[in-house]
């Protein structure tokens, strides 16, 4: 009898991290919800892009939507844009927002802790498993959208957000880089999901926290906020990837957005871990939720936001809303020059260079009584350019709808011969007139000129 107890000294070993990670992955992938999500992410974008690319009416209100019929890479970017608004935050809700709460619902915490024997390791394996599933879902979305676009339209050059043309290889690299860039804010939302799942336990609020945060940030992004606040938000990289599609790339806002997102991911994950390892799992009346816990989770994140805003405001070159007349004129002139050259090629006219065109733009917002700054659909610009071999100067009028995140849609307002027709006749058939209506992007962090 005594042999049972008088054996070798009893050791205390937590479960190996790799095995814990594999078990968490098994549990996640055994859920029908995860399987359905994977199926939808793997098939949905391909079907959507293939179907929409063949339509005569394209989603021109979405960035790159107007080019879906021209190149397969545009479809992936339309899907990316939609995913950044809703799909990725929702996926983080469904995966990371539930990864801890599900154990509360099943009543398995005590079992799991007695087997794993290290709350810290348990937290790490759960967080890693959730991140892995989210990464797989994001890769499925990206791959599916690319495959759908390439299958339906093919790999052709992509028109960037400043009108320059990306060759298929460059377009592929940049599209993949854009998808990679949004993994950072996805991590931030996933970390908020982990925090909600730990702090709010069985409450549906825990599950919904990333989605609610996304909704809140979408509303905030619509406001004419100072640029320092805008780029300090954890979801800013969800729009900043567009900067990759200008030449030179607007990497400043993107890097800042990625940095802020990763900062949020680290802080929110650390907070979630802090709350988790201090939870008393023998207190059957508690599932970890409570006002005090929520306070301990929300206040530090609010402090992070305030510190980031202060840091960007102190060090960033831009002030105000970030959309000023000078930036807009520069962006519009550049885009127009690139697109004019594209149109020239499509019409098989003698090639011109941007330098020869010496394009410039003059913009005004809302007339003399309104300050020429900030977003709005009342920007009116006149673009002028030199026609090579002629003394005349061409000009065209554009009505601009500028949004607070720096994106604008320039809508041709004459003369009809330049931007009045939405199609041009090319050697291979009708194609969209690139200077009838086009998208552009203002660098919000570009220095604001004084005076």
């Amino acid at each position: 009898m005594s042999a049972a107890v008088a054996g070798p000294p009893a050791l205390t070993r937590p479960a190996p991290a790799l095995r814990g990670y594999r078990f968490e992955l098994l549990k996640l992938t055994a859920q029908w919800r995860t399987r359905v999500l994977l199926l939808v992410c793997a098939v949905g974008p391909a079907v959507f892009v293939a179907a929409v690319s063949r339509q005569s009416t394209l989603p021109t209100d979405t960035v790159f939507g107007r080019w879906m019929g021209q190149t397969g890479w545009a479809g992936s970017l339309v899907v990316l844009s939609f995913c950044c608004s809703w799909v990725l935050p929702l996926l983080t809700s469904l995966v990371a927002g539930d990864v801890f709460a599900v154990e509360d619902r099943l009543g398995t915490w005590r079992h799991l802790l007695t087997v794993v024997r290290s709350p810290g390791r348990l937290f790490a394996t759960k967080a890693l498993a959730a991140a892995t599933v989210l990464a797989v879902l994001a890769v499925a979305l990206a791959a599916s959208s690319v495959v759908g676009g390439l299958a339906a339209v093919g790999s052709h050059p992509l028109v960037g957000l400043d009108g320059h043309l990306l060759a298929p290889g460059a377009a592929a690299r940049t599209v993949l880089l854009a998808w990679a860039a949004v993994l950072a804010p996805t991590c931030a939302f996933a970390a908020v999901g982990l925090l909600g799942s730990v702090a709010l336990g069985r409450s549906p609020m825990g599950l919904l926290l990333p989605a609610l945060l996304a909704l809140l940030l979408q509303l905030v992004q619509l406001l004419p906020l100072p640029v320092a606040v805008r780029v300090a938000l954890p979801g800013y990289a969800f729009v900043a990837w567009r900067g990759l599609f200008t030449s030179p790339a607007q990497t400043g806002p993107l890097l800042l957005g990625v940095g802020v997102s990763l900062g949020w991911a680290v802080v929110a994950t650390a907070l979630a871990r802090h709350l988790f390892v201090r939870r008393d799992f023998t207190d059957v009346a508690s599932d970890g939720s409570g006002g005090r816990v929520l306070l301990r989770a929300v206040l530090p994140l609010a402090a992070v936001l305030a510190a980031t805003v202060a840091a960007v405001a102190a060090t960033g070159p831009a002030t105000g809303p970030g959309v000023g007349r000078a930036q807009l004129q520069s962006s519009l002139a550049t885009s127009y020059a690139h697109l004019y050259r594209l149109q020239t090629r499509e019409l098989a006219r003698p090639d011109v260079t941007e330098a020869q065109l010496r394009t410039s733009a003059t913009c005004d917002k809302g007339g003399e009584l309104v300050a020429d700054t900030g977003p709005g659909n009342d920007w009116r610009c006149v673009v002028s350019w030199h026609i090579p071999g002629a003394t005349a100067v061409g000009s065209a009028v554009y009505q601009l709808d500028v949004t607070a995140d720096g994106r604008y849609v320039a809508d041709g307002d004459g003369p009809q011969a330049v931007n009045g027709f939405f199609l041009v006749r090319t050697a291979s058939g009708d194609a969209p007139n690139p200077i009838w209506q086009f998208d552009g992007l203002v660098d919000l962090l570009a220095p604001t000129p004084k005076g």
Binding site: R13, F23, R110
Partner: protein
């Protein structure tokens, strides 16, 4: 050396005192029962034994190692509290394989563990479709997989049918024979009587009894018995006159039964009553306890204050002395 040794263990959750001065000794090869009403602190104590929390005060040793805050329980301790903790989307085999993996055991033991608790034929079924009793047995299999030296089980017979309960009892008895220390909580006195060598009774977080099961049964003192005789009226007259015997109105937990007489008496007084009935020519057909001795002792220990309160006297108030 005791496999489990606790001295003066205290635990609070905010203002609530969950455990207050609990001592516990469980030797190797011993099955120790933990009894108490809901909220008595059983789950909290079992959770401590499994390393889910540490005492606020007092000492706890498992397999000779002290267990404190931040120092997990040693290998060799297994079991479950508050349900077996299974994943319904996984099969029985997957649930056990995960436990084996996480604790660095070979998966080859999974089949044997399932066989031991009688679940081998549903090994590849998802736990979602299991009954409560099957889940309890799977939870036990999960603990067996770890070849424990201390096995901690919270209500292992909960939801089991008589055959399942007997199977669990036989598994635990075999483990005890192998030298495993078993600590088990239960509300079922028949389980406790069948399994346990010693018991600790908790009430309001405090131990109100600790010792051998026989001693607990002896704590019951006067018990209520039901007598069926050839002449109930004559038997009642004899009982009223018998020393140490109180005749009650009946068993409030049962339908009124005019053919039975319910009396409260100690064992010697009951023997005297039976002798007097025989002398009076009344045939005794059945003498059975209304409440089992263990249950009576449990109720007496955990509801002692209520019993002392005259206002709590119910329909079983004595009719005559």
């Amino acid at each position: 050396m005791a496999a489990v040794r606790a001295r003066g263990v205290r635990k609070r959750f905010g203002d609530v005192v969950a455990l207050d001065g609990v001592d516990l000794d469980v030797g190797e090869g011993q099955v120790h029962g933990l009894l108490g009403p809901n909220g008595a602190g059983k789950t909290t104590l079992l959770g401590m034994l499994l390393g889910l929390s540490a005492p606020d005060a007092g000492t706890l040793e498992l397999l000779g190692r002290p267990v404190r805050r931040g120092s997990p329980v040693p290998d060799g301790v297994a079991g479950f509290v508050d349900g077996p903790g299974l994943y319904p989307q996984l099969t029985a085999r997957q649930n056990l394989a995960a436990v084996a993996d996480l604790r660095g055991r070979e998966r080859t033991g999974v089949g044997a563990a399932l066989e031991e608790v009688g679940l081998a034929d549903v090994a590849d079924d998802r736990v979602r479709g299991f009954s409560l009793g099957m889940r309890q047995r799977l939870g036990l299999a999960s603990a067996l997989l770890l070849r424990p030296r201390v096995l901690v089980l919270d209500e292992p017979a909960n939801g089991l049918d008589p055959a399942g309960a007997r199977q669990v009892q036989s598994v635990l008895a075999r483990l005890a024979l192998r030298g495993v220390a078993v600590v088990v909580s239960s509300h079922r006195m028949d389980d406790v009587a069948a399994l346990c060598d010693e018991v600790t009774v908790l009430a309001g977080g405090r131990p109100v009894f600790a010792g051998p099961i026989e001693k607990l049964a002896a704590e019951s003192g006067e018990l209520e018995h039901r007598l069926r005789t050839s002449d109930t009226d004559a038997a009642r007259r004899v009982a009223v006159a018998a020393p140490g015997v109180r005749v009650l109105h009946g068993d409030p937990a049962r339908r009124p039964d005019a053919t039975a007489l319910v009396v409260r008496a100690s064992a010697p007084a009951l023997e005297g009553l039976v002798a007097r009935l025989v002398q009076a020519g009344v045939a005794v057909r059945e003498v059975s306890p209304v409440v089992a001795p263990l249950e009576a002792a449990f109720l007496a220990l955990t509801e002692g204050q209520d019993d002392d309160d005259p206002a709590s006297a119910g329909p079983d108030a004595e009719e005559a002395r």
